[in-house]
Symmetry: C2
Subunit: 202 residues, 2 copies
């Protein structure tokens, strides 16, 4: 979709489908920086920052609404409340990265994967795209590995553990969290950093 290094003059509101932002290293390994679900504006930061060396890619078929930077700028100038809300969104993105730093620095494989499931489920349910501890999850095991910094093989084995412990069921692109409470414990997940009005915990 977007390549590294160009300098767009539009932002994209993701209407349907999933996007990832990723960085490809010199040795061709890949790190997925963020997962984007419908309702988000993945490149809002481009309003104020020139392109960095990471790329947006689609995981599924996706529909985006294209919004010129100029439109955002006039909106921000005219409506301080909206400006504050947008700023706030980018601050929450930063907090999500912060959690990833904690996870990659201090969590083991099980915790990282469990945390990804927890966060994704809560973010989806905030916009009504998930409920009853079920949601879409259109990643491959290799994608999960690139997101949480593990090899595909080890992701596979960790998933087997999570399944054996009856914490999740994941087949194809549909995920079901069988034991939310214990998955949260494994992940050491606290949704506060997402700054949602009401948490989806149960």
């Amino acid at each position: 979709m977007t390549q590294e290094g160009n300098r767009p003059s539009n932002c994209y509101l993701l209407v349907e489908g999933w996007l990832i932002r990723c960085k490809v290293l010199r040795d061709s390994r890949r790190q997925i920086l963020s997962l984007h679900v419908p309702g988000e504006v993945p490149d809002l930061h481009a309003l104020y920052l020139h392109a960095t060396d990471c790329a947006l890619a689609t995981l599924t078929h996706a529909r985006v609404a294209c919004i010129p930077h100029e439109a955002f700028r006039t909106l921000i100038a005219a409506r301080p409340t909206i400006a504050a809300a947008l700023w706030r969104e980018t601050l929450i993105d930063a907090q999500i990265y912060q959690q990833r730093v904690i996870g990659l620095g201090r969590r083991g494989a099980l915790g990282r994967i469990a945390h990804l499931f927890c966060e994704t489920y809560v973010r989806l349910s905030a916009t009504g795209l998930a409920k009853d501890h079920r949601c879409e999850f259109p990643l491959t095991q290799a994608d999960v590995g690139d997101a949480v910094g593990l090899s595909t093989v080890h992701v596979n084995r960790s998933l087997q553990t999570l399944r054996a412990e009856q914490l999740i069921s994941w087949q194809g692109r549909s995920l079901e969290i069988l034991n939310w409470k214990r998955l949260v414990a494994v992940a050491d997940f606290d949704p506060a950093y997402l700054h949602l009005d009401k948490s989806a915990a149960s």
Copy 2:
């Protein structure tokens, strides 16, 4: 300095000294989320986000200027240019976190530590606090470990490698980068994400 969980009504401009933001996990391990050097406003995000569960702490003696949130808000409302600049700062913070995600996910011990040195040096030199590949670096090896997600022992051994390769010299609180080019290569460091006007590479 600041504890977890309270809800301040001021921001602090760091005038002198070093701060860290860190999160203490349940098992009492610690992850340092960010390092703050003079000229920064470490908790600017608190303008729009309630407190999260991380703490600010001093690494050295530090002087801060206390700025009420209200002052920032009126400034933001009155001066769109300043508002944009502040927003931009928080976006750069997010990019720094993003780099940490890449580092923790895909770099080994040497690369992580080297990257920390590179980033810190460039950020310091941007405000004139470092030059000639020398700068202050008032962390302990244990701090470095908590920052880059390694054990103290392994940090020590990795440092010995960096020293043996004549890449750095670090004693007490003063750091000298002996071979910038090779350190950058080890770190896979590209300062673009810091969005500084001119890079300090040489």
